[in-house]
Amino acid sequence: MLMLTDQNFEKEVLNSKEPVLVDYWAPWCGPCKIMGPIVDELAQEYSGKAIKFGKMNVDENSIIPSKYGIMSIPTFIFFKDGKPLEQFMGVQKKEDLKRKIEGWLK
């Protein structure tokens, strides 16, 4: 799991060879607390596969979240080759997230 910050975002996400699913969250957001463990589980299940998982605390980092126009959390953005390919928000079922990931990895 990548702990992303405004400082390391470019290196870890934009310049990453593997695609990255970024979970934008904050400690005071109830739905984010639900999604946190799900993203942790997915990161474990996909370890060694061609995808990385990262979390960015929007409370501590503001430059990147505002750059991507995030005004609602939890928000997830799937980055590939430095570009945001898909963005979605709110609580997601693990199965649905998995289905999306499988789609991206194809």
Binding site: P31, I34, I38, D59, G69, I70, S72, I73, T75
Partner: protein, 362 residues
Amino acid sequence: MEKVIIIGSGPAGYTAAIYTARANLAPVLFEGAEPGGQLTTTSEVENFPGFAKGVRGPEMMAIFKEQAERFGTRVVAKAVTAVDFSGRSDQATAAGATRGLVTRSRIFEVFCEGELYESRAVIIATGASAKRLGLPNEKKLYGKGVSACATCDGFFFKDKVVAVVGGGDTAMEEANFLTKFAKRVYVVHRRAEFRASPIMLERARNNPKIEFIMNTVVEDILGVDEGRVTGVRLKNVGQGLVPGRGGAPASPADGRPFGSVAPADSAGRQGPALPSFQDDKRVLLCDGVFAAIGHEPNTKLFAGQLELDQKGYIVTRQGSTMTSIEGVFAAGDCADYKYRQAVVAAGAGCMAAIDAERWLEE
């Protein structure tokens, strides 16, 4: 085969789980798409007895869950996708059925993303969800300034202007909460009176950052081209638009252009001098829109199988939580259009557990 399946993970579902687990019914509880339910999107819960200092909604639901699991509830982090309450009889009781003993031998089927669970009894506690405004551009701007969760998203509106639509407790709570971040919060309400409780309304009225726009509905949300909310188009539906503090209605014929500086209220406070309204056009410029216009029950799964009332709430028998099908019980906001309180839902969850336990014993 389960003895009891509980669908939903709010106060009703978890209380039903605590009681059925303690009655050795080994309940299986499906958390659903929104684990913890509506309370996970509220900030502070101040009216649940036992939490004298108040408690954060998500924290309270974590405690409920812990208590249910302590007695052996199996919590499944999945959402039920379909149910079949038609009550196929199993083979062991098919013989009984021929003797007219049909009802008690029913097996209820609950499908979870293709997986089948069978149960002797089902407790439905699927709750309700906040209604959307249902406007043309609402969906396009969801997450771009349109939000369904003030506690989650208020943070993104630091020093911005937001509109809260609605006139009940939820609207007042969200408006008050949003003033922690926003520089100005407009409460847009379609009537001249409020449904909100006096304590919540008083708090909002005393909040200098909150401004009320009465007798007004939001016709559309603007900003699709910009990719973020830039404003809302308002329509007056009452005896004149009433900007002000929700007190005495200002006369629409006082000569002020729409949305100009509101007159000082009875307390001598000057209204905002923000150029938030564009004259004549009836547009309120704002960066965020929060809908708090009520709820609808999460009962689509059961349509055609259980008796629902006109608004979609599950009908239960007088003095009981039993639905139109014996062995299927309903508790909480999915069956309660009237009170919609966590403590009432918890109470109903307890009733459903006891009803289910007795029904299974018979």
